[in-house]
Symmetry: C2
Subunit: 212 residues, 2 copies
């Protein structure tokens, strides 16, 4: 990355898509790929792909294309993968459990170290090998265990409180699934997955197929 | 909407955000709101909000702002809410169950009419009042029940097959949670929720806080 260059969020959001394509290519034993072939695979134009990757140094060679393994390693490095991020999930209902289950089977780069809930019938149980603790102990747990990422899967009404505690407890990033825009901290990145927004966009396009 | 006007996907994706803000405003008994106040609430500029809404006819009045209830009703109408969308979920593991649970408590506009799975210990069970059926019966079920939306929560390996069957069975839209880009149909909208992409973007910003 060129120093002090601010990279547009749209570019950043395309990097994980490149990574998925390169993982598939590696699994199918492909050794190299041109930006044209990559373009066919993921639907961005070859010129966009070259521009995106140029922000980070290019990595391609004229007439050869990209080495699949090397480019994958470079993108992992840019993203900051290859180290383990320890996560806590606040809210152990179905969604919290689904995220926990997803993480446990997804990649060694991510590990859920504790679930939290307010419900007595959940506290003390294990899900995918992870203990559900009383949310009343969240602050103490954060102080002692310093997780990297806090995941919010509680209801809209309790999400801001969870967010405040996670940030006060020193997490480095927030992954929010509650259907509300939370007030975070300017230094702490927050990613939102708003399922209802996604579903509403889908419904719009169902009703306006000419706009697809 | 002006006839034949193609509205940018970015505008469409902001509409659900407006809707959420207006729901909150309605719940807090607000009757009207200026684009400036709406801007403070959701973080888009007032000029962007006015531009976005102008695509659909404006709805605001100089010096008065927007009537909360009316604007909410207009956005619901634009999106196509106010009618019930019947959904099937292919994949009844934790994620499928989490989506089912989310939909059942979310809004009367959406109703899951069946879950599907391949696992014998799941088939025949009910989750949030919805029966899990054998995925071998999916095609017949689609023919007989004509659901509007097909949700894909199976593994990456089985996602394309589920997608093909849903489209052949006549669904009007696909909501895909499998971490793969599926080949759909040009007429059938598809929304993707790629959790791993989201998590990777978060990790990037954790490692590049200067880029937030």
């Amino acid at each position: 990355m060129r120093q002090n260059e601010k990279i547009s969020p749209a570019v950043i959001r395309r990097l994980p898509r490149y990574l998925r394509a390169l993982e598939d290519l590696e699994n199918s034993k492909a050794e190299r790929i041109s930006s044209g072939e990559l373009s066919k695979l993921i639907g961005y134009t070859a010129s966009q792909i070259r521009q995106d990757l140029n922000h980070f140094g290019g990595f391609g060679q004229q007439g050869y294309g990209y080495n699949v393994k090397d480019l994958k390693a470079e993108i992992e490095k840019i993203l900051g993968l290859g180290t383990q991020y320890r996560m806590v999930i606040v809210g152990s209902g179905r969604l919290g459990q689904a995220i926990n289950s997803f993480i446990s089977s997804y990649s060694d780069d991510f590990r859920v170290i504790s679930l939290f809930d307010v419900k007595e019938d959940l506290i003390g149980k294990e899900k995918s090998g992870v203990l559900i603790r009383d949310v009343a102990c969240l602050e103490e747990y954060l102080r002692e265990n310093k997780p990297d990422i806090g995941v919010i899967t509680v209801t809209k009404e309790h999400a801001q409180e969870a967010c405040d505690k996670l940030i006060a407890g020193g997490v480095r990033g927030i992954w929010n699934f509650a259907p509300i825009d939370l007030e975070g901290s300017p230094d702490i990145p927050m990613e939102n997955v708003h399922l209802s927004d996604n579903l509403h966009s889908l419904v719009y396009y169902i009703n306006h197929p000419e706009q697809i």
